[in-house]
């Protein structure tokens, strides 16, 4: 069982962060490293300054620990913080909470329940739900956690209720059969082009998001993000990249989606929706 060295800090703006931390170095893999696992690990070993530090109080060999994709998503939330705070969200959700790093960060950024915001989160991995509970508790924030596949069981009743959804999906291109594996494999195995789970998540997000709701999702270049944006465009969503991180081999894009005809910028200077970012491949 790996011991995670705790790192204590507070939410900072990305520019101000001066600490970077190698993560994944004590990541225990009980199986031989496959191509997909090593890809996600390689991404995690690149040092990037992080915008938010959450103290990890618990870990489990079957639970994905925060890596640069997690940090990129939180940095995107921080970058969009002004809009998010003006958004006056009521219900927020993370699909695939893992260690709880992102949902905890989101709750700290947006505020606790005295502001009238309520958080839900789900993970298909029961160990992840327990680690997430501990991470939330350690930071004095609450989210309702459900052990389920994406939002199964919640979909019918939560239709049109989510104002913010965040997802760091299993995006690594893998053989299709790895997608149905249990445990930590579920955190990265994305099948062909890494899109198998993403393509199941997007229709659910369309159902759950309110009219003014926003989705923030991590993608790789390998996922063909312009095609994702096109698919979302057909569902009536505009999109833009909020954060991009590149290594020699790959680029991470955190994309924000919102329903066209509704503004995604809420700073009092109303601009028309920015439209689909990806015009060409």
């Amino acid at each position: 069982m790996p011991i995670n060295p705790p790192f204590v800090g507070s939410i900072e703006s990305p520019a101000a962060s001066s600490t970077s931390k190698q993560v994944g170095s004590e990541f225990y893999i009980p199986f031989p490293i496959s191509r997909c696992q090593s890809l996600k690990l390689r991404l995690s070993k690149v040092m990037f300054p992080r915008g938010a530090d959450i103290r990890l109080v618990s870990s489990h060999p079957e639970v994905y620990e925060p890596c640069d994709d997690s940090f990129a998503l939180v940095d995107a939330l921080l970058a969009d913080r002004g809009n998010l705070l003006n958004h006056q969200a009521r219900f927020c959700m993370e699909i695939g909470c893992g260690s709880g790093y992102i949902i905890t960060s989101l709750a700290i950024i947006l505020g606790k329940e005295n502001s009238g915001i309520h958080y839900f989160t789900s993970d298909i991995n029961p160990y992840a739900t327990r680690v997430t509970q501990r991470t939330l508790d350690a930071h004095g924030v609450h989210a309702e956690i459900i052990n389920t596949d994406i939002a199964s069981g919640l979909q019918k009743r939560l239709v049109g209720m989510m104002d913010v959804i965040v997802v760091n999906p299993p995006y690594v291109p893998t053989p299709e059969e790895e997608v149905s594996c249990e445990g930590i494999t579920a955190s990265w195995a994305g099948g062909y082009n890494g899109r198998t789970v993403i393509d199941r998540i997007l229709p659910v997000v369309d159902e759950l998001l309110s009219d003014s709701g926003w989705l923030y999702m991590v993608t790789l270049t390998a996922n063909n993000p312009s095609e994702i944006c096109l698919l979302m465009r057909k569902r009536g969503f505009a999109s833009r990249i909020v954060v991009q991180r590149s290594t020699e081999e790959e680029s991470l894009h955190v994309i924000k989606f919102w329903r066209e005809g509704v503004d995604d910028v809420k700073d009092g200077n109303i601009t028309s929706s920015l439209g689909t970012w990806f015009g060409t491949k």
């Binding site: 329940e113 009238g116 956690i145 459900i146 052990n147 596949d149 069981g153 019918k156 939560l158």
Partner: protein, 122 residues
């Protein structure tokens, strides 16, 4: 699991038509204070299935909720306090959610409901 969440969960077993509400069985629950926010309660009220909330609150021994409710009651601080308590302050730690159509049990452990289906139920 709060009763708010219970109010948002339905049976996801394949082919089920009447999967809501799930019948609540609770063997262990705790009460945790949550900051009162009247605006939130008024805005969420239209989404709440009141009979489901009433039934669940009875199960955990909170009998102060009226059996039926309408929006006019949202003017009453007393009603809001009871609504707040039932919706947000009762946490079911151990128990189960039972599909009304198939009887399928979804366990609740350590406050987390498990809605994972077996292959034949998907």
């Amino acid at each position: 699991m709060r009763l708010l969440t219970h109010n948002m969960l339905s049976s996801n077993v394949k082919g089920v038509v009447n999967g809501f509400p799930l019948r609540l069985e609770a063997s262990t629950w705790v009460e945790k204070e949550v900051d009162f926010n009247a605006d939130f309660l008024r805005s969420v009220f239209p989404k709440i299935d009141w009979p489901a909330l009433f039934g669940a609150s009875q199960t955990v021994g909170y009998v102060a909720l009226p059996e039926s409710a309408d929006a006019s009651m949202l003017e009453s601080e007393d009603f809001l306090k009871k609504f707040h308590h039932a919706l947000l302050e009762i946490h079911v730690e151990e128990g189960a959610l039972v599909c009304p159509e198939t009887g399928r049990r979804f366990p609740i452990n350590k406050g987390i409901p498990n809605m994972l289906l077996n292959e034949d139920e998907v």
